[in-house]
Amino acid sequence: MNKSWLIAAAVLCLAATPVLAADEDTLTIGFTVSQTGALNLDSIAQLHGFEMWRDDVNAAGGINAGNKRYKVRFVSYDDQSQPGRVQQLYTRLITDDKAQFLFSPYSSGLVATATVISEQYGKLMMSIGGAEGKTYQLGNKFLFQTYTSADHYLSGAIELVKSKNAAAKVALVYSDDPFSKAVAIAAREQAKQAGLQIVLDESYPPAQTDFSAIINKIVSSGADTLLGGGHYPDGATLARQLYDQKANLKWATLLVAPDSPQFASLGPAAQGISVPSQWAPQVTYKPDFGPTPAEFAKRFEAKYNIAPGYHAAGGYSGGLLFQHAIERAGSIEPEKVAAELNKMSVTTLWGATKFSTDPKSHGLQLAHQMVLTQWQMKNGQLVKEVVWPLAAATAPAVYPYR
């Protein structure tokens, strides 16, 4: 930024106070999106969720805070799925773009780096798309997590596998990134407690494209169950190569990747793969406010020509929760809104939401539940069915998966 520009801008600001007063009816929310880079598929789905919420809110006249109505305005940049850029861009969003509230970037690693900036400047950030729990243990005041923490991702799959085969041999093969590692740490414990044997436990670099060595190790270990994966690119590649290399498995649950509708394009390689999901269009939550899951899914599909996955639903819900907190607080002051969020215990299309107020884990999501969905062949087409927990299931699990 040129210094003379700054002086000019400063002068303009001083002279334009009446203009500023008019801006007070706009609420600026800043965030970065991974428009490019490995995380782009799910990050853009999340963005669509944000945008749909913003359009709905503005169409209804804006957010109602006290006796003012605020129209929502987004300022966003492309973080290219890179942590370094995230920090620079969030600093810019706060200092230059004067964002009043923040959404997090997508994915735990990026959320953690953005949190540093939001906490350094005391800005409230709604974390969407960040499941890793450690971020909330670093002593924050203004961070709120909407996703179920990473610890719970594979618990459903483990319970399901145990119910089908108590002597299952598990291969835990996961991407070496903060989110997947956190999931794996918890999964290890949960598998042991369920009495399942872990015969392979290994991580791979997130950018890995050649899984043949690891798949050979899976075969060597005699595993019949695979748990793991990472995000979309490696998950999709792993699924494909598992199919090509004919790894002899009875069950495979991969993180994140199979949730995307795009996963179906893998054809036979996608069949039977299951994914822990923060949300599925078929869930039957009864919301305290906002649209029902079915309404949301229908309107989303009409707008974007693709069924919403949990990333899109998370984006929409994040905005909804913000709106609710601001409206209850009657103000856009960070402390007041944070106080409302701390008190909150609601159900939306997303499910139940309640944030931890324990300073040692502030913001951690306590109430939200996950489901396990599986790609199944129905009338010649691949569809996602909820298979666990049984109370929420829309179809029985297919075991062995292929």
């Binding site: 428009q35 991580s203 043949s212 060595a213 050979n216 690119p233 590649t237 090509d244 004919k246 002899n248």
Partner: protein, 287 residues
């Protein structure tokens, strides 16, 4: 037991393709003392070439290999006259920086156009299953094609006149010039050949694994390691170097986490650079 063997065999199959990539690098290095840092970008170019030719023209993937080879050659010759020609004879660092900068431009343009999205060329060939381990058809086919191309290159370099001219220029450029060999044309031809090899190896890699615009860097680094192992200027050495690297990877991965293979590769790289500057596979008695 079978697991380790399977790992080694698969390592050798894939390693040979890395060897092919390195052959292009070492050829250019040996003939004109230029370290071609656009190597990675050219590998990616080959990948995209295969992707577009096979998906847009609906052609089966392997049919797109010869066009990629030819196109790569043309691009290489062009690149020579644009950026490299002026660098011949100058300090090697200048050519290093020149090719380096072209690489940056190409990767930068590539990222602007294609982002960093993962591309995949769907190729399905029946593999060979053996004691529960499957060698995917694509890996086998890639290794077979590599052997064929390497064989063709050998025949070219040792049994044809242009090939001889290249070897002459590589050995002693001034003497070759004095003998009436048109060195400038030979250099551009050799450069084109080196780039063609890089492109075709990229195309073969694309039949096996998905790729992004940024994949080239990793394969370029691998090519350097292989080139150094095989001794620069030694195409046969490069192929053996690739196989050796694949062997090393195959032997190591069953016993330690897969993520350690990079560390081992780079340690080997630095050690060989310092202790064996002529490479490990120097069959011809060249320094």
């Amino acid at each position: 037991m079978f697991g380790i063997l399977a790992s080694i065999i698969d390592g050798v199959l894939v390693g040979s393709v890395y060897g092919l990539a390195a052959m292009g690098l070492t050829l250019i290095w040996g003939v004109m003392d230029v370290i071609n840092l656009t190597h990675g970008a050219m590998i990616v170019a080959g990948m995209f070439g295969l992707f577009y030719l096979s998906t847009l023209l609906g052609a089966p993937a392997y049919a797109a290999i010869p066009p990629v080879l030819v196109a790569g050659f043309a691009v290489g010759v062009g690149l020579y006259w644009i950026a490299v020609h002026r660098m011949i004879g100058r300090p090697p660092l200048m050519s290093l920086l020149a090719t380096f900068s072209v690489n940056m431009v190409l990767i930068g343009l590539g990222t602007t156009v294609w982002g960093t999205v993962l591309f995949n060329v769907p190729v399905s060939l029946p593999g060979i299953t053996w004691h529960g381990y499957t060698f995917t058809g694509t890996h086998i086919m890639a290794a077979v094609l590599t052997a064929a191309i390497a064989g063709a290159l050998y025949l070219f370099l040792y049994r044809t006149r242009p090939g001889k001219a290249i070897r002459a220029v590589a050995s002693n450029r001034e003497a070759a010039e004095l003998n009436g060999i048109p060195t400038r044309q030979v250099l551009s031809f050799a450069f084109g050949l080196g780039i063609a090899l890089a492109c075709v190896s990229g195309a073969l890699i694309a039949t096996m694994f998905p790729f992004t615009v940024l994949s080239g860097t990793a394969y370029q680094l691998k090519s350097f390691v292989v080139t150094v192992l095989g001794g620069l200027g030694n195409p046969a050495g490069a192929l053996f170097g690739g196989v050796a690297l694949g062997l090393l990877e195959g032997m190591v991965t069953p016993f330690m986490p897969v993520s350690w293979t990079s560390v081992i590769e780079f340690v080997v790289f630095v050690i060989v650079l310092i202790a064996f500057p002529g490479g490990l596979f120097n069959f011809t008695r060249r320094p």
